[in-house]
């Protein structure tokens, strides 16, 4: 009788409840719709299809997701996380989307003791933030590493005599663009490059042709744009129209989006951008196929897989130690994880091996530079439009 009961209990085990807060509206909604939400959907679907999380005691518990839209407003993110912790009393909360919203919500996560595994925040403040918040984790990398890798790639091309010394650099006047522009100026100078054009433009600028005209007039060897999605598209289109002919062409966020490759087709061959993946491993191949099948759209070539991997970390930690949040946090700090991105181990609460620069080569955005990951493709130069 007792065994029947316990089987019954195992069958009817309550689901593990996860909160999810991210933009569904507002300026970052489109990015979240590509990188963030589909992976939550995919992960929940896959775990439940398997029968649920395999808990320590042998029971299976399905996962249930409670979603909130933060309207890309940090105040709303904080309110929603607070609500998930105190009203909905969820077991875990999936980290929000983007650097700003994650940093804004970090104190609330920490206050209620929820682990926050961020997959879409890039910052140089990782040491300070991890020291202050014991339950925050970073998986996408740091600003300086991102800028440093661009300098390395350009140095390499220069050493091969493919490009010269002159860089035209532009940035979107928003936290991300400003931080990267400031981080990269000394790095480029130190690497012996000359920044001959250096301008910023406001977020949401409708006409970027004056910028591209200016960059072209400065006659650069390389073009670097610390840009956000809408301007990444606009800069690329304008560069093609103006015939900005450089051997190294870099735009930041959204270069890794499938829509970028789809829109510009063959002409983006050789384009450099933030992120990249190694899509040829068996794990990544299976991941890309499942993403397409379950969500109906392709994964991007950067943070999509990292977001999914961050959910795998949560999954493996819960399966190992249960739903005690303190135990899960401690487990994440010191354990090895098997993810679609390969083996992961957090060092000082952050992943120190990550992709930094990718490049479009024959319709795929391959990682060409990383901080120590295997499988980087050799860089090629861009040849015309």
């Amino acid at each position: 009788m007792a065994s029947v009961l316990s089987i019954g209990a195992a069958w009817a085990a309550d689901p593990v409840r996860f909160g999810a807060v991210a933009p569904k509206t507002g300026p970052l909604a489109a990015g979240a719709a590509i990188t963030h939400w589909p992976n939550i959907q995919l992960w929940a679907q896959q775990v439940n299809e398997r029968g649920g999380l395999r808990m320590k005691d042998g029971s299976r518990r399905k996962v249930e997701i409670i979603e909130y839209d933060d309207r890309t407003n940090p105040g709303e993110t904080i309110k929603a996380v607070e609500r998930l912790a105190t009203q909905d009393k969820v077991d875990f909360i999936i980290a929000p989307y983007s650097t700003g919203l994650n940093v804004a919500a970090a104190p609330v996560f920490a206050k209620h003791g929820y682990p926050q595994i961020t997959a879409t925040s890039i910052t140089d403040k990782i040491p300070e933030l991890t020291a202050r918040y014991p339950s925050i984790f970073f998986a996408l990398g740091s600003t300086t590493a991102l800028a440093g890798s661009v300098a390395e790639i350009l140095s390499k091309l220069r050493a091969e005599k493919k490009i010269g010394n002159r860089i035209a650099m532009v940035n979107v006047a928003d936290a991300f663009g400003i931080e990267l522009a400031e981080a990269s100026r000394p790095i480029f100078k130190k690497a012996g490059f000359e920044i001959i054009y250096d301008r910023s433009y406001p977020l949401g600028t409708q006409d970027l042709s004056p910028i591209v005209k200016g960059a072209k007039a400065s006659n650069p060897d390389a073009f670097v744009a610390w840009s956000y999605p809408p301007d990444t598209f606009a800069l690329t289109e304008q560069s093609r129209i103006e015939g900005l002919d450089v051997k190294a062409y870099y735009t930041a966020v959204a270069t890794a989006f499938p829509a970028y490759g789809a829109k510009f087709g063959k002409s983006v061959n050789g384009h450099l951008g933030a992120g990249g993946v190694n899509p040829d491993t068996p794990e990544m191949k299976a991941y890309f196929a499942a993403h397409q099948k379950v969500t109906g759209k392709p994964a991007d070539f950067w943070a999509s897989a990292v977001t999914y991997a961050s959910l795998q970390v949560l999954e493996q930690a819960i399966e190992a130690v249960g739903t005690d949040r303190k135990a899960v946090t401690d487990y994440i700090k010191k354990s090895d994880f098997k993810t679609v991105m390969g083996p992961w181990k957090f060092v000082n609460q952050s992943i120190d091996k990550f992709w930094t620069v990718g490049q479009w080569q024959d319709g795929v955005f391959y990682g060409v530079a990383s901080t120590g990951l295997p499988g980087a493709k050799p860089v090629i130069t861009k040849t015309g439009w």
């Binding site: 569904k24 719709a33 005209k213 289109e237 129209i241 015939g243 989006f257 510009f264």
Partner: protein, 288 residues
């Protein structure tokens, strides 16, 4: 020369953004804060026609523009007419419609998210260089500006050259007096609102040929349209066109000669200057 042409191209696209709101605010007296969402809806229509039917995005105007006209007419009849009836004064109507259309804008964003999803919508159409006096300009922008100019020209002629247009102008100047000379003010207001919506949706089609859109970007266009309408003088098509061109030229000049980072500042500085020295707008009538 580059500045002049780039500025005119930008100004022409601004004018199409503002034209719809001019009609809706100036004639129907509805300060429509959901204007930008209508524009995005038009853009999505064009995107759908281009990618699913592989037709020119401009072909989508055949469905989108009449569709937007009917939809806006219905919005006016069902949602806004009660507010118009209830309003005791113009000020009250403005406050009420601002609140109502602000709510509507959220509903529209939600519906578009549901139907189209939250991703970016972008496609390449005529993204080729077109040389004017030797310097390259995007052909899609040039075509967009010409179409925008055509639409604005038609509207201008419609309003200043036809009998209905004269009636519309009469309503814009004084709805009460217009009613005295046997103008059917409620019907014309509904017509202007619907026409404004249709023009805005057409603007969405035009902009979608070179801008990347997403479901929640509408508010950006609403803001631009508001600035232009107020700068140009409420209800004055000519004023809106000229304000758009001034804004386009000023932004381009600042971006090229000073710093691209200051374009937004330049636009708002112009706006503040106009408000300071001509609070009724460039072509507005001083209220007595």
């Amino acid at each position: 020369m580059d500045i002049l042409i780039t500025g005119l191209l930008l100004g022409a696209t601004y004018s199409i953004i503002a034209m719809g709101l001019t009609l809706q605010y100036g004639v129907a007296r509805i300060m429509n804060l959901a204007n930008g969402e209508m524009l995005v809806a038009g853009a999505f229509g064009a995107f759908w026609v281009f990618s699913a039917q592989t037709l020119s995005p401009y072909a989508s105007a055949l469905i989108v523009v009449p569709g937007a006209f009917v939809l806006n007419w219905l919005i006016y009849r069902v949602l806004l007419r009660p507010l118009v009836r209830r309003a005791k004064s113009r000020g009250m109507l403005e406050v009420d419609t601002i609140l109502a259309t602000f709510g509507m804008s959220f509903a529209f964003v939600g519906i578009m998210l549901l139907v189209f999803g939250g991703g970016y919508f972008t496609y390449s159409y005529l993204a080729e260089p077109y040389r004017i006096f030797g310097s390259p300009f995007g052909l899609n922008r040039v075509v967009a500006s010409l179409v925008a100019a055509l639409v604005c020209g038609l509207l201008y002629w419609g309003i200043h050259g036809t009998r209905t247009g004269m009636a519309i102008r009469a309503v814009a100047v004084d709805p009460a007096a217009a009613a005295l000379v046997a103008i059917d003010v409620p019907r014309l207001s509904a017509f202007s609102f619907a026409l404004g919506g249709a023009v805005t949706a057409a603007g969405g089609i035009i902009l979608s040929t070179f801008l990347t859109m997403d479901a929640s970007i509408g508010v950006v266009f609403t803001m631009k349209a508001l600035i232009i309408v107020i700068m140009g003088g409420v209800g004055d098509v000519r004023g809106a066109i000229i304000a758009s061109l001034i804004l386009g030229l000023a932004e381009t000049a600042v971006a090229t000669l000073i710093d691209p980072g200051l374009t937004v500042a330049a636009a708002y500085l112009l706006f503040v200057l106009v408000l300071l020295f001509r609070p009724e707008g460039l072509f507005g009538k001083r209220s007595s």
